[in-house]
């Protein structure tokens, strides 16, 4: 007997359409509840609020598409953020160079994750659990657990805004959208991108068709590390400080965004744009519920319910194929 849910053809496509439907539904609901919700300015604000988790989510999506997972992303980002701000403030090197050092450090962490996964054959969960702690500790030691303040303007420039009509949009939001466009193109149109899907779907089959699976994985983890560096730039720009306590829950936040966006935790299926939708869904609920005056615990409650619904939809549509 077919399970109940699978009798409806729509349910089988919910993995791809579901996130957008949920987002639209949430927007309609909040628009009816608060006169302040439906404005360009408010949407710009939401984009600005999800840009850090959004860009981290790009790396997380890449890794989850290969059937891996990255627990270290938030801590690696925080390390990158503290490194770029502390270098710029303490040593007086130029802002671009400081940013470059931060990007290099997070990319290096990504490559280390990748090497441990491919060369030592460790499971990604364990590898990144280890590097999570390592990145956190290095960050605390390096910063002395002190927040870095009085940053040069160049480091916070991405947090500035430009006006489009009467809407102020932050440069950081634009950078996030560009990063999504680039990674979407990479995954859809280039060989390494297609190979990442293949490796996630069935690594053995991918290997037999001549794909250098290990090289693909290393590339994916390294690129993810780079995206954490970009997220570090955005985090510094958004909060105006280098905060060694940052990034502690971002690993789960990105996994939430990836899952809400309809990407399968089993690998091989999903889209990076879904992750953007997933991150925005969380942002919309947080913003909308605050505008309604509802306590923030309900946002956490609703996120939990949505995650379970999203994974259920993924399971059902998997069997449907």
């Amino acid at each position: 007997m077919t399970p109940f849910l699978e009798r409806f053809p729509l349910v089988r496509h919910i993995g791809t359409l579901g996130p957008l439907i949920a987002l639209l539904g949430a927007c309609l609901f909040f628009a009816s509840q608060s006169p302040r919700f439906l404005s360009g300015q408010n949407f710009s604000l939401i984009l600005q609020q999800v840009m850090v988790v959004g860009v981290l989510g790009i790396g997380q999506t890449l890794i989850i598409l290969t059937a891996g997972i990255d627990l270290s992303c938030g801590m690696v980002m925080a390390l990158g953020a503290v490194l770029m701000s502390k270098l710029a403030v303490d040593t007086g090197i130029s802002v671009p160079l400081a940013i470059l050092c931060g990007l290099a450090a997070t990319t290096l962490f990504g490559v280390i994750n990748g090497l441990l996964v491919t060369k030592v054959n460790l499971p990604p969960f364990i590898v990144t659990l280890g590097t999570l702690n390592i990145a956190f500790a290095i960050n605390q030691i390096y910063s002395g657990a002190q927040t870095v303040t009085d940053l040069p303007d160049g480091l916070t420039a991405l947090g500035n805004t430009f006006s489009l009509g009467d809407v102020a949009i932050s440069y950081g939001s634009i950078l996030m959208l560009l990063a999504y466009a680039a990674s979407w193109f990479l995954l859809r149109e280039t060989a390494p991108g297609r190979h990442a899907y293949a490796v996630g779907n069935n690594p053995e089959a991918a290997r037999l068709t001549g794909i250098a699976t290990k090289r693909v994985l290393l590339f994916v983890y390294g690129l993810a590390g780079l995206s954490y560096g970009v997220a570090a730039m955005l985090s510094v720009a958004r909060t105006g400080v280098g905060d060694p306590q940052a990034g502690q829950t971002e690993n789960l936040d990105t996994i939430t965004a990836v899952v809400l966006g309809g990407t399968s935790l089993f690998g091989g299926r999903g889209s990076v744009l879904g992750t953007l939708v997933g991150a925005v869904i969380v942002g919309v609920f947080r913003n909308g519920l605050t505008l309604m005056g509802v306590s923030s615990v309900y946002q956490i409650l609703i996120t939990g319910i949505l995650v379970i619904l999203a994974v259920t939809a993924d399971q059902v549509s998997r069997k449907g194929r």
């Binding site: 006169p35 400080v241 905060d243 502690q248």
Partner: protein
């Protein structure tokens, strides 16, 4: 027909918005949603807002130290039209640039419970005098030890937090040890302090820290704790080691569970603070600002009382019955 309906709807929306606009919106941002201290604070704010006809919005970080969550909350509350924001900063330094943005936009920002770093980053601070809270239990502990050489363990908050430093240094000053003044964010040390560890104000972390300190210095006779959950953890560790009898534990907070522990003799004395009052005063200041445009400023001490299980000669204290009446949390 349709356009008429939408016109009516539009008019209704507009009049609704107009009615709501008269009501001052006040935002309250706490460190977390789960700590009873902040739950009590929210209750106090909600009751005062209802009394004064203001609309209260509340939000919180996900955990202590979650700065990004508080940044988001400030932005959302400004978008919602809040003209006053009350905040208990999770990260005293990191929140400052965002508070500056809010103040530049004309929002009155008041820190509750813990200060920003620098203190002047907000318009006003309504909080316990944490240094004094430390001094009160320091004096009590000195008398309780009665001239015995002190072997002190301090279970502190976490590095760099002003509240943690003020209570710690205040305790030392009250005990008669040389310590930094209330402005310092660094924990002072003295030979009498045989072990200092971070408890994060958490019971299980406090217990683990105490266990390690007992390994290091088994002859400890005085434990200072940042708050009562940490004190409960310390007591548990001492009890497992069979040392709970000879050790004085002092703490700060005055939560109902802490007062019960004081009455039961697990904690000897605690400095009680008043979150409900901080929040109510904050809401009143917000309503005042909405009505008259006058901003609250400076530091307002919301008071602290020493609650002791056993009164000691020469140390002014109240008993646990008084403490229970004024405590926060589940009575």
């Amino acid at each position: 027909m349709n356009s008429r309906i939408s016109l009516v709807a539009l008019a209704a929306t507009l009049s609704l918005t107009a009615a709501a606009a008269d009501q001052p919106i006040i935002g309250l941002i706490t460190k977390t949603d789960t700590n009873p201290f902040f739950v009590k604070m929210k209750e106090g704010a909600a009751a005062e807002a209802k009394k004064l006809g203001a609309k209260l919005m509340s939000a919180a970080g996900k955990q202590d130290g979650d700065n990004a969550g508080q940044v988001t909350a400030i932005e959302n509350m400004m978008a919602a039209g809040a003209k006053t924001i009350l905040i208990t900063p999770s990260d005293a330094k990191a929140i400052v640039p965002t508070i500056k943005k809010a103040r530049d936009a004309g929002v009155l920002v008041i820190a509750l419970d813990s200060p920003t770093d620098p203190v002047e980053a907000v318009d006003a601070l309504f909080a316990t005098d944490n240094y004094k809270a430390g001094q009160l239990i320091g004096q009590y502990a000195k008398t309780a030890l009665g001239g015995k050489p002190a072997r002190i363990v301090t279970l502190d908050l976490f590095p760099g937090h002003p509240v943690g430093a003020q209570r710690h240094n205040g305790f030392m000053s009250g005990f008669g040890l040389k310590a930094a003044d209330a402005k310092s964010n660094d924990l002072s040390t003295a030979p009498e302090i045989v072990c200092a560890a971070d408890s994060y104000g958490d019971q299980s972390k406090g217990q683990a820290a105490m266990e390690s300190c007992l390994q290091k210095s088994p002859d400890v006779n005085l434990v200072y704790t940042i708050n009562e959950p940490a004190a409960a953890g310390a007591y548990k560790a001492l009890k497992s080691a069979g040392k709970e009898k000879g050790v004085v534990i002092v703490s700060v907070d005055g939560g109902c569970q802490g007062i019960r522990d004081t009455a039961a003799g697990k904690i000897q004395a605690t400095s009680q603070q008043y979150p409900l009052k901080m929040a109510a005063m904050g809401v009143a200041a917000g309503v005042e600002y909405a009505k008259t445009g006058k901003k609250a400023s400076g530091y307002v001490d919301t008071g602290v009382t020493l609650i002791a299980g056993k009164p000691l000669a020469g140390v002014e204290s109240k008993d646990t019955k008084v403490g229970m009446e004024l405590c926060w949390g589940k009575k």
